[in-house]
Amino acid sequence: MTDSTSSVSHLDLDESKKTFLDANELILNMGPQHPATHGVLRVILRLDGEKVLGLECVIGYLHRGVEKIAEHRTYTMFNPYVDRMDYVAAVSNGLGYCEAVEKLLNIEAPPRANYIRVILTELNRVASHQLWLGTHALDIGAMTPLFYTFRDREEILKIFEKYCGARLTTHAFRIGGCQYETYEGFEKDVKKFISFVAPKIDEYEELLTTNRIWVERTKNVGTISAKDCIAYGVTGPVLRASGVKWDIRKAQPYAAYSKFDFEVPTGQNGDTYDRYLVRMAEMRQSLRIIQQAVDGIPEGPIMAKVSKVMKPPVGEIYHSIEAPKGELGYFIVSDGSTQPYRVRVRPPSFVNLQALDLMCRGQLVADVIAVIGTLDIVLGEVDR
């Protein structure tokens, strides 16, 4: 495969400069096939004993050329592809894309569609955080949360399945609104889910929040300051755990988010433990939003008037949403034809992963696993 010596050049590996004293520096390849890298991520670690002196990520193993594919598909045809980027939060991907194209077309989804979108997107946020928690805890050595979270996530996937027939890559939304009206008993199912999962989140916390092993493995691990977060463009729960109260749902509301009352949880220390707490609090806030949305869902059409053949006027647009992992943006250029001239996806996982080197320096090898977990990356989105 690739020549590994050229890949590690910035780690300053000039053999001739080595003295006896730093001969114990070691290059360790982690991945790409490693269960704790959450996909196919290769990390080249430079170690002094167990201490990380620096690392480099090698990515691209899952590169499918999504942005190129977009240029050869119509706006509608590209819609299902976005689900395959961050496949654990497919609904969010679809929401961002549909809203971006709607902006370009200068149309707005009807209020009822926006409510349905919020409900499904927030359910997906809970599902994404549950999957993150289960795998993150498993990486660190706690096996039980994985079974708990996957058991409860199943209920969300069942709602998705009943709504649109798919569990993971849902393709739940269409440009202009939603294709499907909610099924009979949708509200009941969602309300039942809220009352079902709220105590479960307490249960997860019981397992972990004061668990001594968990606290030891996560406190002061992978600390990143607010300043560094901003400099490195890190967004989402990672940024908030460093104390920056910024959430696109509040800062630049989209869909129906301006209508709901919810908090933006933040942390202070910017370490792995705080990021855990922030995501736990976010799940509860998501349930709050879902509850309000189900209670207040208006009647009416679910689809705006959209031509079957979409030809957005010549121009370009950037639209971003708060995906479970951070700012997910779409930059779309239209040349007036039925196919986008360029679709650029601003993936939160890709940008957040860049901070891994900074967060791991000076930590132990075992902490690298914890930090990869706490960044909550999906390689399908990193590589696109």
């Binding site: 910035h10 590169h63 200068n106 490195y232 031509s307 053949v309 121009g315 250029v333 940008v351 696109r384």
Partner: protein, 231 residues
């Protein structure tokens, strides 16, 4: 839905765009008619019968929104400093600056240091092969303090360099590597400009319009994967 995209060769090139024209409608600078958003859907609907028909001259040009001049204290300041090298426009409520390539490191530095655009959201590019200066390079910026976004755009020709923004925002590191990987844009001053998503030895830059959708570096595939073709 008609699928006319199976043939690999013709990329959907910007028909309406002529050489050296910004990718937004011309005549955008001043005195443009006020945007008439509601006109778009009916106009688009009128084209419905032409769905599968071959592209003939559009019967009615969709009266979509057009970019209008963006005026603000920030723009006035930049214009005062850089004069005609800066053009400030708003399209669908989104502000962007079309700037001269020579202004690039300075204007980005000022936006971060003096105007609080401390978060570099994205660095990317767009390829317009028919244009003299083929590439648009874009920086999407956000300011936490102002809760405001701005895009900075510049045009460069094939083979031209552009200063790296890594010293301004460390985020730009991977983003510029991706733009280099996909478009072959050279960012001068980048600490380590090499491919990021494609393998190091790969030839070609896939997001260029002249790179076919099923095209690949056959030689790389044969040597490294030991198979005849990746298709």
């Amino acid at each position: 839905m008609p699928d006319d995209t199976t043939s690999p060769a013709p990329p959907p090139e910007g028909g309406p765009k002529s050489a050296a024209e910004p990718p937004v409608p011309s005549g955008a600078t001043a005195g443009s008619p006020s945007p008439v958003p509601p006109a778009t859907p009916p106009a688009a609907a009128a084209e419905k019968p032409a769905a599968a028909a071959p592209p003939k001259p559009a019967p009615a040009k969709p009266a979509g929104p057009v970019p209008v001049v963006w005026e603000s204290a920030l723009v006035a300041k930049l214009k005062g400093q850089f004069g005609s090298g800066v053009e400030a426009l708003t399209y669908l409520g989104q502000n962007y600056l079309q700037v001269d390539r020579s202004l690039i490191p300075n204007i980005l530095q000022i936006l971060r240091d003096e105007e609080q655009f401390d978060y570099c959201v994205d660095v990317t590019a767009v390829h317009y092969p028919k244009r003299e200066r083929q590439f648009d390079v874009l920086w999407i910026l956000y300011s936490f303090a102002r809760n405001e976004r701005v895009r900075v755009k510049t045009q460069i020709a094939e083979g031209e360099h552009i200063p790296s923004a890594v010293s301004i925002w460390p985020t730009a590191n991977w983003l510029e590597r991706e733009a280099y990987d996909m478009f072959g844009i050279q960012f001068v001053g980048h600490p380590e400009l090499k491919r990021i998503l494609l393998p190091d030895g790969w030839k070609g830059h896939p997001l260029r319009k002249d790179y076919g959708i099923i095209q690949q570096d056959q030689e790389w595939v044969q040597i490294n994967l030991g198979i005849e073709s990746g298709q």
